[in-house]
Subunit: 216 residues, 2 copies
Amino acid sequence: MKLFSFWRSLATYRVRIALNLKRLTPDEVIQVNLMKGEQRAAAYRAVNPMMAIPALVDGEPPALFESLAIIEYLDETHPNPPLLPRDPRGRARVRGLAQIVACDCHPLIVPRVREYLEHEFKLDEGARNKWCAHWHVAALAALEAHLNDKATGRYAHGDAVTLADICLASHAAGAQYYAVDTAPFPTFSRIVGELSAIDAFARAHPLKQPGAPAAL
Amino acid sequence: MKLFSFWRSLATYRVRIALNLKRLTPDEVIQVNLMKGEQRAAAYRAVNPMMAIPALVDGEPPALFESLAIIEYLDETHPNPPLLPRDPRGRARVRGLAQIVACDCHPLIVPRVREYLEHEFKLDEGARNKWCAHWHVAALAALEAHLNDKATGRYAHGDAVTLADICLASHAAGAQYYAVDTAPFPTFSRIVGELSAIDAFARAHPLKQPGAPAAL
């Protein structure tokens, strides 16, 4: 397996967690420096036309793309430990929680969007960071409401780690990037605390990757 | 089943297509007028804390939420016709194509985002529409590159309709909202043409729903 990665990418963080949980180690991790725009280079565009990471090559090309699609692929090809519950309602809840993060918030704060705000709308860093923080808080409020449910256990859905927890962890890292206080969301914060103690999550954290700063 | 819907919602359009393909008819369709902000009313917020549609109640509450999660739930509980291929690589491709639409583009143009651009950034309608069109074009370019592949058939993945086609159709409707020319994306356009001839797609179209204008 060949993973296209970058320390700061929250979507790649999700895939790294899933790989760790499945005890899979890519043969090669290729750095795509988002801060230098390397995702737009012709070579990478041929790998992933959306010019975003992660991408994962498993055996023959073409590369797999989109973090949630990649994680479900890993879950289908390496079923243990499972990242989705077995019952359809539970699966829908887990996927729904994951999509609050990966659809409703994260796409709004990726490099291409922040660059549009800067170059097209001429917004300064303060306005851009406020934007990023705003969407994190909106998703946190929705997540917290959903997590105040009997379906929540030690983790987001019962007592086993799922795709929802992977996305909660990436959302917590994003909140940290934009100095969003997660204390007003106690169930979210409790679960993220539990997750940070799991080696598969800790090792995958953005700040533990090559090229990452020592602290934000 | 009870569906929370609105004619203009592209995410709800996707769920309507899936319901039609599965020959399911909700017992009740509840209109949530996004143009009047009804998605933020306390009554609806209790249904879906993200304050977005669709939501689907199937039997007992709580409601299912997030369009892709709902569609996978429908596919798992009503397997025929299947909306995903059987092989993991094919499933990953179909989910990835769907997520280019539902994660990389659509979240950027929903009401809460357009309202933020208007009220916080004080951007006029022209700038807002340019923003919406921009993200549609970015996704169209990525989709077209992916569709130029031998895995594409009559539809986005082979000759059977999948979740990817559902998202292509919603993307085409979004492109229409923002006057985006899809002609430079011939494979996308060809497939959307095929889809528009399918009754399950045609009946679900935004302009065929209660409250929709006769034309855009």
